[in-house]
């Protein structure tokens, strides 16, 4: 197959579908109890050097407890898929955990501004980067979820985003139209926060799904954090609601308010004051160090983090905000 043009970026994960199949052949299909602590899940399934993906969208339905635990356990040399990664990226940059990154959207927190620390880190040259767009990364996950090594798409072409990607331009064998072939992305391990999961890992999500269906299926190992554990009977009551089947899942961690300080649809809104504080303290290295010590390194778990930031009264306020009792109207 003729490659018309190709980007200069690296492919950080092997897109080979047969190698992925060989891995998945050995993955357990048994329905067994996978409930464990976030600490154990990170210790067991995330290793130095792994390529990781974080589900959700920036500060919405994001597995914050897993990000904090990665810092506490001192993981290093991770690869990362920066697919509208905002607060999660900010946390992980605070631990300088990366040495390579596929970028679609990083260092920013959307309308909240840019993270000075994440920006500094990404300007040091310590992190090798390949460039993509959000949809390009979505398609890379989608190809992996389909068990193939590439899918074609019609974006990127003509731009520097293509030039610094690892995409390759090919022609449609039917219409001769040009397409950018995007290599499948099979992460070593991903973490996704969901509304409900059973002990085996069958998951339900409300609201937008972003790229999480595909991320879950593409990932070799998957850590689920959930707002609430539910029974397998409840999952079976209506199988239409299951969006991630248990066989994708390696660990199930019950973490109420697990997306805090991010937003969780129907549960609680984001804590904008705390996120503002994050951005502010990053400008002063000493202050930032103390902030991280207080909120991450000095915390045993997500409960303790929440307790230090307003506890249940804060959670109630954020729940009321989510329900539109408190807001612009």
């Amino acid at each position: 197959m003729d490659v018309i043009e190709q980007g200069v970026g690296d492919i950080f994960t092997d897109p080979d579908a047969d190698k992925a199949r060989a891995f998945f052949r050995g993955k357990s299909r048994k329905m067994e109890n996978k409930v464990m602590s976030v600490k154990d899940a990170v210790a067991k399934f995330i290793h130095d050097g792994d390529y990781i993906t974080i589900g959700g969208f920036g500060a919405n339905r994001v597995p914050v407890a897993v990000c904090h635990e990665i810092l506490r356990q001192g993981r290093k040399k991770l690869g990362f898929a920066g697919h509208t990664s905002t607060h999660d990226f900010q946390i992980l940059c605070a631990g300088e955990v990366f040495d390579r990154c596929d970028i679609a959207y990083i260092i920013g927190l959307e309308a909240r501004g840019l993270s000075p620390n994440a920006r500094r880190y990404m300007e040091t040259g310590k992190v090798k980067v390949s460039e993509w767009s959000n949809y390009a990364l979505s398609v890379r996950f989608k190809a992996a979820a389909a068990g193939v090594s590439f899918y074609p798409a019609r974006n990127l072409m003509g731009t520097d985003t293509f030039k610094y990607s690892a995409g390759r331009i090919i022609e449609c064998p039917f219409t001769k139209t040009k397409y950018v072939a995007l290599p499948a992305l099979y992460p070593d391990v991903s973490a996704i926060h969901v509304h409900e999961a059973d002990m085996y890992g069958n998951c339900r999500v409300r609201g937008i799904t972003v790229s999480d269906f595909d991320v879950a299926r593409a990932s070799k190992r998957l850590i689920i954090t959930c707002e609430k554990l539910i029974s397998n009977e409840e999952i079976r009551r209506d199988p239409s609601y299951t969006v991630i089947p248990y066989w994708c899942v390696d660990a199930v961690c019950e973490v109420p308010y697990g997306s805090y300080p991010g937003n969780m649809l129907g549960e609680y809104f984001s804590d904008e004051e705390h996120l503002k504080e994050w951005l502010k303290v990053e400008s002063d290295p000493a202050e930032f160090k103390a902030f991280l010590e207080k909120n991450i390194y000095g915390c045993k778990d997500h409960f303790e983090y929440i307790l230090k930031n307003g506890g249940m009264a804060k959670m109630q306020m954020l729940r009321q905000k989510e329900m539109m009792f408190i807001g612009a109207r």
């Binding site: 969208f57 920036g58 959207y105 990083i106 959000n134 974006n155 731009t159 520097d160 040009k178 807001g327």
Partner: protein, 256 residues
């Protein structure tokens, strides 16, 4: 002094471009405000979609993220990234509003970096996000940005999102979907479109109080001028009322 600020002026001007029954992919901030304003004033059937998956919500207050709960508040569908971008790729999204640190005469946008060493950039920006996707797929890409020579540059340091590329038929030849591309650039001073053959940026309308010279003086490349340059009307009382009292009462976007 006019009784409106620069941001209010751009949002009102931009909102007038969105006709009833069209679909638009927007980000947070000014684009979302412009789309909401169009819905309230003249386009009740304007369909607003967000890249993370929200479709046609009854937006209760300005979202702070294109994936936050407000983007699916009483929406007709809460979907995902592929659903939205593939809907755009199928040709179902008419408009998008994008931004960036730099724009050139062909409407190419930079939101990735300043500097030449890509692995160690002088200044790192967030990157494409969904901009390259919306800019590749939506029929008409629009930009709202202050008129400033540092933003309107001869050549972008890095082309994150395709405009008309190097002009002429270069975009058509690139493999990007045919017929889509930059449509209008809306600044505090003027509105520009793109001359159909060369695809170079061209002044077509001026905001009250600005001259062609003002626009050219605040642009880093030579602008084409339409044969007939019209004058935009100032924001109306109704537009300002809707914007200030209904859409953005806390003035997150329009400022204080």
């Amino acid at each position: 002094m006019p009784d409106y600020n620069t941001m209010e002026l751009m949002i009102c001007t931009a909102s007038r471009e969105l006709e009833d029954g069209a679909s638009v992919g927007v980000g947070t901030g000014a684009p979302c405000a412009a789309a909401m304003l169009a819905q309230k004033i003249h386009s009740p059937n304007l369909i607003i979609v967000f890249e993370a998956g929200g479709v046609a919500p009854l937006i209760p207050e300005m979202p702070i993220s294109v994936g936050d709960s407000r983007t699916t508040w009483k929406a007709i569908m809460a979907s995902g990234m592929c659903e939205i971008m593939e809907t755009a790729c199928r040709g179902m999204l008419d408009y998008t509003f994008l931004g960036g640190a730099q724009i050139d005469m062909y409407g190419n946008l930079n939101s990735t970096r300043i500097g030449t060493d890509h692995q160690k950039p002088k200044v790192r920006f967030p990157g494409s996000g969904g901009a390259n996707d919306f800019g590749s797929f939506c029929w008409r890409m629009m930009v709202m940005t202050p008129q400033d020579s540092k933003r309107f540059v001869e050549k972008v340091s890095y082309c994150t999102t395709p405009g008309w590329l190097s002009g002429g038929d270069s975009r058509a030849k690139s493999g990007l979907p045919l017929g889509a591309g930059p449509y209008k650039i809306i600044t505090n001073m003027a509105v520009m479109d793109f001359e159909p053959e060369s695809k170079r940026m061209r002044v077509i309308a001026l905001n009250p109080g600005y001259s062609v010279k003002d626009v050219q003086d605040n642009c880093g490349f030579e602008l084409l001028k339409a044969k007939k340059i019209v004058e935009n009307h100032a924001p109306t009382k109704e537009e300002l009322h809707m914007l200030r009292d209904v859409i953005d009462p806390y003035r997150y976007v329009i400022g204080r």
